[in-house]
């Protein structure tokens, strides 16, 4: 039952994503963020239920969280490298 429920949530998320893609004007600049938030929720549910992350021991979840956190600095640096003005090469 819970598997079917999660499947329903995944499909619902997909439909909302498609609706936002077709006409996301109501969300304005937040349309992209909303889509990614839905994707994150979908992945979270897959981890919790389909991959049994919730039913495994807590260290699995901690380990998974650390794995995710590992790449966060890279994302920040990559974004900063692009978004912040370049100062150019030093002499």
């Amino acid at each position: 039952m819970k598997y079917a429920a999660v499947y329903g949530i995944l499909m619902l998320g997909l439909i909302v994503e498609l609706l936002i893609a077709v006409d996301g004007s109501i969300l304005g600049a937040f349309a992209g963020a909303a889509t990614l938030a839905i994707a994150s929720l979908q992945a979270f549910f897959i981890f919790l239920v389909y991959m049994h992350g919730r039913y495994g021991p807590r260290p699995v979840a901690v380990f998974a969280a650390i794995s995710l956190l590992t790449v966060v600095p890279l994302f920040i640096a990559l974004l900063y490298s692009v978004v912040m003005p370049h100062h150019g090469s030093l002499p």
Partner: protein, 800 residues
């Protein structure tokens, strides 16, 4: 009649000690190869305007020296000791996955041979420096096919390392002897835990970067040739791997040094409870310092300041460890046997490397030092001084245990003296060449800095070359000593040093399953050996589960490695070779599966022991989770590359395709439904397996396979349509990242489908569905990861 038995033993063995010896010999072989290359280019640099090497030859020698030493020598040398001693130190009989252990080794060897064979490919091997900087790594500047071959060799090596990492983490966390709590582990095993974690999270980043590079060089994508990607993208992806890699190289030797200082000063390691958190903090911080290699690349000022601070921070845990090491010696009854000499030498050299590293963390000083021989001097003091010297200490320390014979102490000490003299002659003058560029194949006399002895001018470069040859000769002393002693040395006791870890409680060399007196039980009063209750409710004695040696042989690991090596060589050189390699791989995977299904491979039985914090997971499911954690880093880095390209397009004037402009979002949405539905049928398969519904299990697995295959067919159809519409690999960065992301994900789906076939056969042969439930659950974890990745790929590629 030739007796092939000994040869077959070494080819088919899965025993951790045999694998350790194979790693040791192979890494020393690559050490000699990389060392000879170093002597070659140091000869070139000995005097100004030398013509001993041509520029291309020099570049190839330097590149291959760096890559071999870092990736095929230092890391595997640590792995050699880890393979041999970590299972013994934790009280286990073997690694958690012995065949995967053998696979790691053979793939490592295949990758090394592929790397060396790239010299023979037309035009020579990679010539872009070990950092493989873009755009030097692109076809425009490095057209030789040998460069691509080196790239593939590196990918193969990374695969080997990641498999090895999974194996070690499961082994250490799940196979510890009764009473062997984590805090009781020797420092070397602790260092190897952190080394494994660093490899797990850092190496996938390099695999991502290499995927983009090979894609550029082979399929014509434009990641590093476009203005949206280019050098900065490579730098970030490479150094995100590259700096943690420094600690991968350092920590094993550093851990050995700690154990040696303790053993030879006959005192417990000072503040071990602080050293271990310091290793953890340094490991975490190592993921936040990589851009100090990029101070001169033009990245934003905010980043420079942040990385300046994190780099200075990382020196703190290492300073604490160094102080703890020194305090371990205080009041000790010190014996300066050869291992101890190398331990003390390693500590001293690392201090010099660490201090010069603090100089480099400063943006201002780095501006002056970047790209000069100062940096070369610094990192050799750190990696060779702190890492390799410690590992050589370990080699002498464990030689009696591995061979059952003592080495010549006199020759060992001579080796140490010549080693230290050669080392400092070689690397110290590099600091004095702080204004000489490092990436040049020759120089004129104006750069020939040096000093006078009377009227005789001695150039620093000449001195460095003398040091290089001295350093090289010192290794000959070691090889002569160890080779002679292995055959003729006096017999070694089981504990010649008074060591405290478990390997010193077993005979030298240890028997096949390590503990002939029974299962070690560790308590506050020491180690006792006794029969221990097994997981199946039975009891174990000294000979439990040993069986004959051949029961633990498997020829499939070497066949898989052989197939992979031939296939990758063929991918670049020869279509029949590609087909042959692929065929061998297919046969090997089928053979491996059949061997498992028919129970022809028997793994050593492990006693019930310490499994915290993963007591509730089986070995295989923990292994799958660890693999998934590496996959998070792999896909995370690729997503990072996507974000970088996407954001950079705003600055460079490239208009990223709008949603629906190139891709049909409804077709993509339909395919998403197909894949997510396969995720549902997969969890149904597990439910049916647990409930004992044979028909439900088979039906669900078939449905999962059909949906997965349908997803791939749709994907192939979509690719064909896109190609027909002119959206090819090389159209722009949007097309390049689309094909790489969907291609890599598709490869994971295909791998999953292959595993599903195995699962279906297993379910057919299983006497009950619950027997297959474990395998179904483990595959479900993987398939869930494939789904989870796609739920991000779909919006990123189709909707945004």
């Amino acid at each position: 009649m030739v007796d092939w038995h000994p040869l077959k033993r070494w080819l088919y063995t899965t025993n951790h000690k045999d694998i350790g010896i194979l790693y040791l010999l192979t890494s020393l072989y690559f050490f000699v190869a990389a060392g000879l290359l170093a002597l070659t280019f140091r000869t070139q640099l000995a005097i100004p305007s030398n013509t001993f090497l041509q520029p291309d030859e020099y570049n190839q020698a330097v590149t291959t020296h760096g890559l071999l030493m870092l990736l095929w020598v230092l890391t595997p040398l640590g792995a050699a000791f880890a393979n041999y001693f970590v299972p013994i130190q934790i009280g286990a009989r073997d690694m958690a996955f012995p065949r995967l252990n053998a696979l790691s080794y053979w793939v490592y060897l295949a990758s090394g041979l592929l790397a060396l064979s790239s010299f023979l490919a037309g035009g020579g091997t990679a010539d872009w420096g070990w950092t493989t900087y873009a755009p030097l790594n692109t076809v425009e500047f490095s057209p030789a096919v040998g460069g691509s071959m080196m790239g593939l060799a590196l990918m193969l090596l990374m695969a080997s390392s990641i498999v090895s990492t999974v194996n070690f983490l499961v082994t250490i966390f799940r196979l510890r002897a009764p009473g062997m709590s984590l805090m009781k582990l020797p420092l070397f095993t602790w260092a190897w835990i952190f080394t494994s974690l660093l490899m797990l999270w850092a190496f996938p980043s390099f695999v991502s970067a290499l995927t983009l590079l090979i894609s550029d060089r082979t399929f014509g994508t434009v990641f590093f040739t476009s203005t949206q990607g280019g050098p900065l993208l490579w730098d970030h992806m490479f150094w995100f791997f590259g700096h943690p890699e420094v600690y991968v190289l350092l920590l094993p030797g550093f851990g050995i040094t700690g154990d040696l200082l303790s053993t030879f000063s006959r005192r417990p390691l000072y503040a071990k409870k602080i050293i271990i958190p310091c290793l953890a903090i340094a490991s975490i911080l190592s993921f936040t310092v990589w851009a100090h290699h990029m101070f001169m690349t033009g990245i934003s000022q905010s980043l420079l300041e942040a990385f300046n601070v994190t780099t200075e921070l990382i020196s703190i845990p290492f300073a604490i460890i160094v102080i703890a090491y020194i305090l371990t010696l205080r009041g000790g009854s010190i014996r300066f046997a050869t291992p101890m000499l190398f331990a003390v030498g390693s500590l001293g050299l690392f201090i010099i490397g660490g201090i010069t590293g603090v100089f480099n963390s400063s943006v201002a000083l780095d501006t002056a030092f970047r790209g000069t021989f100062w940096v070369v001097g610094h990192f050799h003091y750190t990696i060779v001084g702190g890492g390799l010297t410690g590992l050589f200490g370990g080699l002498y320390y464990w030689f009696p245990k591995i061979t059952g014979r003592m080495y010549s102490e006199r020759l060992g000490k001579i080796h140490f003296v010549v080693y230290i003299i050669g080392f400092n002659l070689l690397y110290f003058p590099m600091h004095l060449l702080y204004d000489m560029p490092r990436r040049i194949f020759t120089y004129d006399s104006s750069l020939n800095a040096g000093f006078y002895i009377g009227s005789l001018f001695v150039g620093y470069n000449f001195l460095i070359t003398i040091g290089a040859f001295t350093f090289g000769i010192s290794q000959l002393i070691m090889f002569a000593n160890l080779l002679w002693s292995a055959r003729r040395g006096p017999a070694a006791d089981k504990d010649p040093w008074g060591g405290y870890s478990l390997e010193w409680g077993v005979p030298s060399p240890p028997p096949e399953f390590n503990f002939p007196e029974g299962v070690p039980v560790i308590s506050a009063t020491g180690v006792t050996y006794r029969p221990v209750a097994m997981a199946d409710g039975g009891h174990a004695d000294a000979g439990y589960g040993a069986g004959s040696h051949e029961e633990h042989w498997s020829h499939w690991p070497i066949v898989v490695a052989e197939g992979a090596g031939i296939a990758l060589w063929g991918l670049l050189m020869n279509l029949p070779a590609l087909l042959l390699g692929t065929g061998i791989l297919a046969v090997a995977f089928i053979g491996w599966g059949r061997e498992t299904l028919r129970g022809r491979f028997s793994e050593p039985i492990e006693a019930v022991g310490e499994k915290w914090p993963f007591a509730r997971l089986e070995n295989v499911s923990l292994g799958m989770w660890v693999f998934i954690f590496g996959e998070i880093a792999f896909f995370g880095t690729l997503f990072g590359a996507y974000v970088f390209l996407r954001m950079n397009s705003l600055l460079t004037g490239f208009v990223w395709p709008r949603p629906g402009e190139v891709h049909n979002i409804f077709f993509g949405g339909f395919n998403t439904i197909v894949l997510l539905t396969s995720g549902l049928t997969m969890v149904f398969a597990l439910t049916f397996a647990r409930r004992g519904s044979y028909r439900g299990l088979q039906g669900s697995l078939v449905a999962t396979f059909a949906l997965g295959a349908f997803f791939m067919v749709n994907k192939a159809f979509e690719w064909r349509e896109l190609f027909a519409g002119g959206f090819t690999f090389s159209t722009n960065t949007a097309s390049s990242i689309y094909y790489v992301l969907t291609g890599v994900h598709g490869a994971h789906v295909v791998a999953g489908l292959t595993a599903l076939v195995y699962l279906m056969v297993k379910a057919l042969k299983a006497s009950s569905t619950t027997q297959a439930a474990g395998a179904v659950e483990i595959f479900g974890i993987y398939w869930g990861m494939v789904d989870a990745v796609w739920v991000f790929l779909f919006p990123l590629l189709y909707l945004l």
